[in-house]
Subunit: 86 residues, 2 copies
Amino acid sequence: MRFSYIDLIGYMAAFGTTISFLPQAIKTIRTKDTSGISLYMYALFTIGTILWLTYGILSGSWPVTVANAVTTVFASVILVYKIRYK
Amino acid sequence: MRFSYIDLIGYMAAFGTTISFLPQAIKTIRTKDTSGISLYMYALFTIGTILWLTYGILSGSWPVTVANAVTTVFASVILVYKIRYK
């Protein structure tokens, strides 16, 4: 009982941090306004999510794998726009 | 041996995604340029990292706790600047 309550918080956390990059990706695609966005952040963050994805696959953790596959897509889109429209 | 190799990838991933918000926070504080930054992203992301922090404390995971305590600070600073200088 105690474990499912903690797990629920973990799933809500994973959902929140993953889905948060969707409104940023939509805003960046629509406005192409990347002046305030840090190139270093998205370069580091995209490398980080690819490492998380690798960790998820190697450790057999589906929540980590799925969440970071989705986040890698969103972060890569923002990174490409930052490089292209800086 | 195999486990420490996977764990190393996990620690590198945690370090990368955590530290990535530092250059964004520095850029935002210096330039106050938040026009391209999504309010919804940082509102959702900050809630997400607070949930991760709660999950880390309740599940007794120090890496999750420490990484998300740091990320919550960086994300909160960016969120406050976005609200103040939008």
